[in-house]
């Protein structure tokens, strides 16, 4: 399953780090973040619950960069 979320992040290098963090979250198969449209497209593993996974992904992102937001 794929879902798109709006994100807020200030610099392009941070956006890259954020995408890495989301990708590393359990239950995420792949994630692509576009700094230009400020959107992230997340592909979930089979059977994963998007809401819980995204909460975890958001926490992971906060760990590396405070100044960002994923709108769930």
């Amino acid at each position: 399953m794929k879902k798109t979320y709006k994100v807020e992040v200030d610099c392009a290098a941070c956006a890259e780090k954020m995408a890495d963090a989301i990708r590393a979250t359990e239950g995420v198969k792949d994630a692509t973040l576009s700094f230009m449209t400020l959107k992230v497209k997340v592909e979930f593993e089979e059977g994963a619950d998007p809401d819980t996974v995204m909460q975890a992904a958001r926490a992971n992102c906060k760990k590396i960069e405070d100044d960002m937001e994923i709108y769930l």
Partner: protein, 627 residues
């Protein structure tokens, strides 16, 4: 400016005024260091407290190497060396650069979004009592009636029930000449009604309408990343750690070496050089400029009616060496006209046309349509009940039973199968043979019209160094004539529909390594070829879901000249991308080198960080304005 940006601007101004005041005062009055340093700390904290806080948070979380940390270390380092003014100035300069970058990126983001803004805000839903109500397009059900007033966007695809108007399709096709629509015509969302009120019965939901599909496609295009973008991400991942470790080495190794060889260590000098390194280590300038350029290129293309589904396709298009065209419907109008009707001996013209039109009555092929149209122009109508057993033989033609007689209408191969000996002079155009019970009955000449812009398009593609190839199921003579007229380099003719895929595969093997092959078709019958080629380009896709689905690049109107424009946009975008990569990395490496030798000071280091970024962003914005 966003509130966040405005706040930063105010902080910068306040800090600047205080710093300037302090500098002038200390110039006039001699003060001891324990007054000077805390005084400078005031503007420093005002302008840089968020950087310091973020750096602190970063350290707590083990994320040491981010730019906030670097700026904090560099500026606190300056304070420790009692270069207070420099510390404040560096932080000020850094914040100005960040602010400028944030504004520039936000602005180009908005510009590009505006180019793509075809989203309708509301629909005027017509109630049964004749009143209209403004509703969200999402809430309009299929089969509802909506009213579009002059100047309004058509929000949902549908059919005109009443009214007529000129439609501005520029947002979809880039075409400035308006189209006229009236009752019974299909209209697609995203067009603007210019001079008349239309009542439209919707045939799709908003989510399935053309405008939604296009928005979706364009918004997702930056998700498909180009090779250059992936390269930059990888580069950024290794660049920062390498520079940071080099900085550490630069701070420690030379002084130690000097001590060993009996010289004074000069710790301060080497640590300053290392700090310069740290400031240069942020890869932001490089990381941002590449996707921004692609985004600009895609935005520019979509404003001209060329939808590119991903940065990777824009990149591939720039490397294209061969473009393969389908003839019918792409280089030609795809509208056939019967130009001659030549009965064999013992047959008359009317009868010949009549059997052909009846045999073709169930086919949607352009040739069939033209024969039926010619028949209807003689004042008669097709009676479907007299025809039975219609078989369409792909690449050959049609066979059918009419009043007990076996009729075959098609090309020479079909006649051969039927055992009919053809005799017909070969004029320009396509020839359609007719046989009755295996006996040749005559032939019908049909011509297709070449699109007015095809010749110009081929000429400019050749000038751009592209090898052009034309594939067609048509006879070789016709194909050669069209190719000669248009200046196409290679022709492959008399192909069955299945042959086109294998021809494209052959061409894919022939092409040079590293160059790409694009296929241009109308997206109706050539989906397999579109997906087999490196880049599939569908033309005349306005309102055709299949074409939008199958292709990588979609031309909303049917002008072949747009292909040359798309090529120009892709090449220029890639040139900007390369310029930015070389420039940003080049300047950074140069500054690192100068920094290591102690030539570059903190100011040059900051330029290498924010200055380069601003220049790269401004350069990237040029991709928006390609003509």
């Amino acid at each position: 400016m966003t509130p966040k940006q405005r706040k930063t601007l105010i902080r910068i101004i306040v800090a600047f005024v205080i710093t300037a005041g302090l500098t002038v005062t200390f110039h006039l009055v001699e003060v001891p260091w324990w007054i000077r340093v805390p005084a400078y700390l005031v503007p420093y904290v005002i302008v840089g407290h968020d950087v310091l806080y973020k750096a602190f948070r970063g350290i707590c979380k083990g994320q040491v190497f981010d730019e906030n940390f670097l700026m904090a270390v560099a500026t606190i380092g300056a304070f420790c060396l009692s270069e207070c003014l420099e510390g404040v100035a560096v932080m000020l300069f850094y914040q100005v650069g960040e602010l400028f970058q944030s504004i520039a990126v936000g602005k180009s983001r908005k510009n590009i979004a505006a180019l793509m803004d075809i989203r309708p805000d509301y629909a005027n839903l017509l109630a049964e009592d004749g009143t209209t109500e403004k509703v969200d397009p999402d809430d309009v059900e299929i089969g509802s009636v909506i009213v579009v007033n002059p100047g309004e966007k058509i929000p949902i695809d549908g059919v005109v029930l009443s009214g007529q108007s000129l439609l501005d399709t520029a947002a979809l096709t880039g075409e400035s000449v308006p189209r006229h629509v009236a009752e019974g015509r299909e209209v697609i969302s995203g067009c603007i009604a210019l001079d008349g009120q239309l009542r439209i019965e919707t045939t799709k939901e908003f989510g399935e309408s053309t405008v939604s599909k296009i928005l979706d496609l364009v918004e997702n295009s930056s998700m498909k990343k180009a090779k250059a973008e992936n390269f930059i991400s990888k580069f950024a991942r290794v660049y920062t750690p390498i520079v940071c470790y080099s900085a550490l080495a630069l701070a420690v190794l030379p002084p130690v070496a000097r001590l060993i060889f009996g010289y004074p260590a000069n710790w301060i000098d080497w640590i300053t050089r290392a700090l310069t390194f740290l400031v240069i280590s942020c890869p932001c300038a490089v990381v941002i400029s590449v996707p921004l350029s692609f985004f600009g290129g895609i935005g520019c293309a979509s404003s001209r009616g060329i939808l590119v589904k991903g940065s990777n396709y824009l990149e591939a298009l720039a490397d294209t060496g061969t473009i393969v065209f389908d003839k019918t419907g792409t280089l030609t109008e795809g509208v056939f006209v019967v130009t001659g009707c030549h009965p064999a001996q013992g047959w008359n013209r009317d009868h010949l046309l009549s059997v052909a039109a009846h045999a073709e009555s169930a086919s949607g092929h352009p040739i069939s349509l033209s024969i039926r149209r010619a028949f209807e122009e003689t004042g008669r109508t097709v009676e479907p009940e007299i025809v039975s057993d219609i078989h369409e033989v792909a690449g050959h033609g049609v066979t059918a039973l009419i009043e007990g007689k076996r009729i075959a209408v098609g090309n020479e191969r079909l006649m051969l199968k039927e055992g009919a000996a053809v005799s017909c002079d070969q004029p320009e155009g396509t020839v359609c043979y007719v046989s009755v019970d295996g006996v040749f009955a005559g032939c019908i000449h049909i011509s297709d019209v070449i699109r007015p812009t095809s010749g110009e398009a081929m000429k400019s593609l050749s000038a751009q160094g592209i090898r052009t190839v034309m594939l067609t199921g048509d006879r070789t003579e016709v194909a050669k004539r069209v190719a000669g007229e248009l200046g196409i380099h290679t022709v492959r003719s008399e192909l069955l529909p299945g042959d086109k895929v294998s021809e494209v595969e052959k061409l894919l093997e022939e092409k040079e390594k590293g160059s790409c092959l694009a296929f241009v078709g109308d997206g109706i019958n050539d989906a397999p070829v579109l997906s087999r080629a490196d880049i599939g380009i569908a033309m005349g896709a306005m309102g055709s879901d299949a074409a939008i689905e199958a292709a990588d690049i979609v031309l909303m109107d049917d002008d072949p000249a747009k292909i040359s424009l798309a090529l120009r946009i892709s090449r220029k975008t890639l040139r900007i991308v390369r310029q930015n990569i070389t420039f940003a990395i080049g300047v950074k490496l140069l500054c690192l080198l100068l920094g290591a030798f102690g030539i570059a000071n903190m100011w040059i280091a900051i330029f290498a960080d924010v200055g380069v970024m601003v220049i790269a962003v401004l350069n990237a914005v040029r991709a928006l304005k390609i003509r």
